[in-house]
C-alpha cells in the first residue's frame, strides 16, 4: 500500500480562480465526479461571490429546489463544495497567470507559486463606474455602485446616504431599491439614459409600488456636490433641464467582466465580450485554462452561472481523463456588426470530442428586431429571427456553424426588418 506523505501534498488537479456561484458549482461538480484535488483561490475573506451581499430573493430555486436570499444561497454553495472536499483558500489573490497552469499568488503568508493541471477562471463581473460611463460633473463622496452599497449595508450594517438616486434600470438597479428598503429609505428617482427601462417591462409596476419616479431617455447626467453629493442634473426626455436634490448616486449595472488578470496574461481576450476567447468546451487559448460564469460575458443570473459551472466541470473531467480526440480544425466565430456586442464561444473545435455547448450566446448593443445571420464568406450558414434588447439572454444553435468546413471564419451580422 502506498502511504501519502503529509508534507508532500498530491498535485493539484484543478485550481479555480474566484469562489462565486460559477466557481463553487464547478468545484463541487469536479469532486462529485471523483477529481482528487480541487483548490479554490478567493481574494475576499469569505467565499460566495456577489450573492453574498444580495440580501434579497430569489436565488436557488433550480439549484436547491427552494427560494433563498443571496447570502443563504452563497453559503449553501460554499458548504456544498467544502463538504465534498473542495479546498477553499480565502484571502488569496492570484497576481499572474502563466502558461500551462502555473499561477503566482499573494497569500496572507507571502508570495507563492501554484501549479495545477487545469486552471478555471471564474472571476465574474463588476458594474461600470461613473467614469466608464462618462458621467460628468463634480467628484464628491456618495457615488457608488450597487455592489458597494450592498456590501456596506449587508456586510457592514452601514448606510452611506438616505435619499439616493439610482442611475440605471437593469435588474440590479431594482435590487438597489430593495437594498434601500432594507435600510428603511426610498430612492428619490430612477434615472435611465436609454429611452425605457432595461429590465423587463413587467417590472415597471414595482416602481409605482415603491413610489420611485422614473426618468428615462435623459441626456447629459451630471453629478453636483462639493464634498458630498448634493444633486443630479440632467436634461429630461422632453429636453427640459432638471436638477434633483439627492445625497447619493447609485451607479448601477452596465456589468463588465472582471478581466484584470486576463488582460495582463498570455490568454486571448475578446474585446466584444470583455472576457476570454473560449471554445465550445469553455477552454481558453491556452488549453490548460478554462473559464465559466460571468467572466465570459456580462451578465447572466447566478443560476445560469451555477449551471455553466456544472457543465464546464463535466468537460474538464472528460479532458482530465486524458482521452485523445482527433482535432480536424477550428472555426472562428466573430462579429463586427454595430448591433452585436458579443458572440460566444468565439472558437469552435472540430473533433470527435462530445459534450460541448450546443448553443451560442449572443449579446446585443442596441434594441434589434430583424434577422440574425451567420455567414462564411458569401455563403450563408444560418438565419434566425431576432427581436430583443441589450442585456437579454439570446441563444442560437451552434449545429449549422459546426457543420462548416474547418478553418472557416464565420461572421455574425444583423439585418433590420
Amino acid at each position: 500500500m502506498k502511504i501519502a506523505d503529509a508534507n508532500q501534498p498530491s498535485p493539484i488537479d484543478v485550481a479555480i480562480v474566484g469562489a462565486g456561484s460559477a466557481g463553487l458549482a464547478l468545484a463541487a461538480e469536479l469532486k462529485r465526479s471523483g477529481v482528487t484535488r480541487v483548490v479554490m483561490l478567493e481574494r475576499e475573506k469569505t467565499a460566495g461571490g456577489i450573492p453574498r451581499h444580495c440580501g434579497h430573493y430569489p436565488f436557488g430555486i433550480r439549484e436547491y429546489g427552494r427560494l433563498l436570499k443571496g447570502p443563504d444561497y452563497a453559503k449553501r454553495n460554499v458548504d456544498t463544495a467544502v463538504k465534498l472536499g473542495v479546498e477553499i483558500r480565502n484571502e488569496v489573490s492570484v497576481t499572474e497567470l502563466h502558461p500551462q497552469g502555473r499561477l503566482s499568488l499573494f497569500t496572507p503568508s507571502g508570495l507563492e507559486s501554484l501549479q495545477a493541471k487545469r486552471v478555471v477562471l471564474c472571476t465574474g463581473v463588476r458594474e461600470s463606474s461613473r467614469s466608464q460611463r462618462f458621467i460628468g460633473g463634480d467628484r464628491p463622496l456618495g457615488v457608488m455602485s450597487t455592489a458597494a452599497l450592498q456590501s456596506l449595508v449587508y456586510l457592514n450594517g452601514m448606510h452611506p446616504f438616505s435619499r439616493p438616486i439610482i442611475l440605471g434600470s437593469e435588474l440590479v438597479s431594482f435590487s438597489a431599491i430593495e437594498t434601500c428598503r432594507h435600510l428603511g429609505i426610498r430612492p428619490v428617482a430612477m434615472v435611465e439614459e436609454l429611452d425605457r427601462v432595461i429590465a423587463q417591462k413587467t417590472i415597471l409596476p414595482y416602481l409605482t409600488l415603491r413610489g420611485v419616479p422614473l426618468y428615462a431617455g435623459v441626456h447629459e447626467p451630471k453629478i453636483i456636490g462639493k464634498k458630498h453629493v448634493e444633486a443630479l442634473a440632467f436634461v429630461d426626455a422632453d429636453g427640459k433641464p432638471q436638477t434633483i436634490e439627492t445625497d447619493g448616486i447609485i451607479v448601477s449595472g452596465r456589468f463588465r467582466p472582471e478581466a484584470s488578470l486576463l488582460l495582463a496574461s498570455h490568454l486571448e481576450l475578446d474585446p466584444g465580450s470583455g472576457g476570454p476567447v473560449i471554445d465550445q468546451f469553455g477552454q481558453c487559448s491556452d488549453p490548460s485554462y478554462y473559464s465559466a460564469g460571468n467572466l465570459l460575458r456580462a451578465a447572466e443570473t447566478s443560476g445560469w452561472c451555477w449551471r455553466e459551472g456544472v457543465s464546464t466541470a463535466k468537460r474538464i473531467v472528460q479532458d482530465l481523463s486524458s482521452a485523445h480526440y482527433e482535432v480536424r480544425g477550428y472555426i472562428r466565430l466573430s462579429t463586427n456588426d454595430p448591433a452585436i456586442k458579443f458572440a460566444l464561444p468565439q472558437r469552435l473545435v472540430i473533433s470527435n470530442r462530445p459534450g460541448g455547448m450546443t448553443d451560442m450566446q449572443i449579446g446585443l448593443l442596441k434594441p434589434s428586431r430583424g434577422v440574425l445571420k451567420a455567414s462564411c464568406g458569401s455563403q450563408c450558414v444560418s438565419v434566425s429571427k431576432i427581436n430583443s434588447r441589450p442585456m437579454r439572454r439570446i441563444l442560437r444553435p451552434l449545429a449549422d456553424i459546426l457543420a462548416t468546413a474547418p478553418g472557416s471564419d464565420v461572421q455574425l451580422s444583423f439585418e433590420e426588418s
Binding site: R43, E44, H53, E91, S93, T95, F106, P108, G110, L111, R126, E127, S129, R130, S131, Q132, F134, I135, G136, G137, D138, R139, L141, M144, S145, A147, A148, S151, L152, V153, L155, N156, G157, M158, H159, P160, H182, L183, G184, E220, K222, K226, K227, H228, R256, E258, S260, L263, A264, P271
Partner: protein
Amino acid sequence: MNNKFDIAIVGAGVVGCAMARQLTLCGATVLVLEKAVDVLDGASKGNSAILHTGFDAPVNSLEQSCIASGYANYLSHAAELNLPILKSGALVLAWDQQQLAQLPELIDKAHANGVNDVARLTREEILAREPNLAPSVVGGFEVPGEYLIDPWATAHAYLLQAIANGTELLRGTEVLDGEYTNGYWNLKTSAGDFVADHVINCAGLYGDIVDQRLVGESCFTITPRKGQFVVFDKAASDLTTAILLPVPTKKTKGVVVCRTIFGNLLLGPTAEDQTSRVDASTNREALLALRDRGIDMIPKLENFDVTAAYAGLRPACEHSDYQIRHMPDQQYICVGSIRSTGLSGALGIAQYVNKLLVETRFSNQPLTSPVIPDVDRLSNYHPRDWQDQNNGGIVCHCESVTRREIMNALTGPMPPASLQGLKRRTRVCMGRCQGFYCTAELAKMTKGYFELPLGVQHENS
C-alpha cells in the same frame, strides 16, 4: 504650538510644500497655512504627473530657470525621499505640415534652454519606436530626459520632510487678513492669529486674493484654466513607451498621451478658461472628445476601458511667465502664475525664493542631519508593499493596496481628512473597479478618521 515663526507659507500645493521643505532644511521655523481640509486640494490635485526638462519654456524666463534647477534637484533627491521615477522620454509629434514646420524652432529653443539631447526624428524612426501610433504622424523630435513621477507623493514627501524637521501644518485654516508692522507680520486666520517674520504667498488659484488681503494689491489676476483628463485602463499602458506631446500653442502644451507611474495611460488635458476657482467638474462631451483625440493618435485605444476621469485647475493669469514678486520692505514674497509646470518647477522655485530671502533678513542655517520621512512608494514599476512581509493583506485589489499602507496613511503625521486624500496617499479606489470591491472594507477601516464618513451604522443592522 508656538505662534511665532520665521516664515509663514500660505497654501499647501506642490509649491508651498516644496517651499516648506527648502526653508525648514535651511533652519527656518515654518508655518504652513492651508485653507482646505487637506493639502494638494487646488491646482496640484490634478496634473499630468510628468517631470519636465523645460525644453519648451520661454528662453531666459524665470519659469525656465526654475524648471531647470527643479528638475536637477528632483533627480538628486528622488531616491532619498523614496520617490519613484521612470525615465520614459518624450516625443514631440507633428501631425500636419504646419506643425512639422515649427519643429526646427522648437528644437533650437530646447537647445537654448540647455536641453541639448533633444534631437529630430523621422516619421519612420518615430513609428519604429511607437508602433501603435497612427501612421498619419508626419515627424517629430525626442526629449530623452522627461520622466514619469508620482505627483501626490512628491508634494507629500516634501511636506512630510518639512514636518519631520519642525514645520507646523495647519489645514482648514484660511488667511483672512494680515498686517506688517515693526518688522513682523500679524496674520489673522480662521484658526486664530499668528506672527511671522516673512510671508510667502503660495496660494495658487487664490494667489491674487491672498495678495489683496495682505498687501492690498496683486500684480496678476487669476483666470483658472480647467484641464480635463481621461485615465485609461492599465492594459492600455503597453500602447506607448514615451510621453507623447503635441506641438504646443501659445495657450497650452496641448493634449498629452503618457503612461503614469501607476501603470495607467493618461490622456489630457483640455484647456478651458473659466471664472470659477473651484469648479473642477468634468463633462461628457469634453471627455468623449478627448478620447476621440486619443484614438486619432493611437487607434488601438478604442479597445481599452476608461478607468477614471478628472479635471484640474491651472492658476493661469495675464502673464506668460511665473510672477514671483519680492517686497523686501514688507518681507513678503508672492509666488504666482505657476500655471502648468509647478510640479517640475517646485524645487527650483523654492531655491529661488530662498535666495531672495537671504538677500533680506533671512540667514540660512542648514540642518546638519535632517530627518528623512518614511513615504510609501506606490509605483507600478517598482517593488510595492504587497510583495513585502506582514502587510496585513490586500484591501484594494485593483491597485494592490495593502492594509498596512492604508493604516500608515491614516495614522501618519499628515493623515487624510477625506477619501480623496486617502486615494492620493495610497491609491485605494483609483483602479478599474472604482470602489466596487473595497468600499465596505474601507468604510470600516476609516471609521472615525474622516470629516465625512463613508457610511454610518444603521438601525436594522
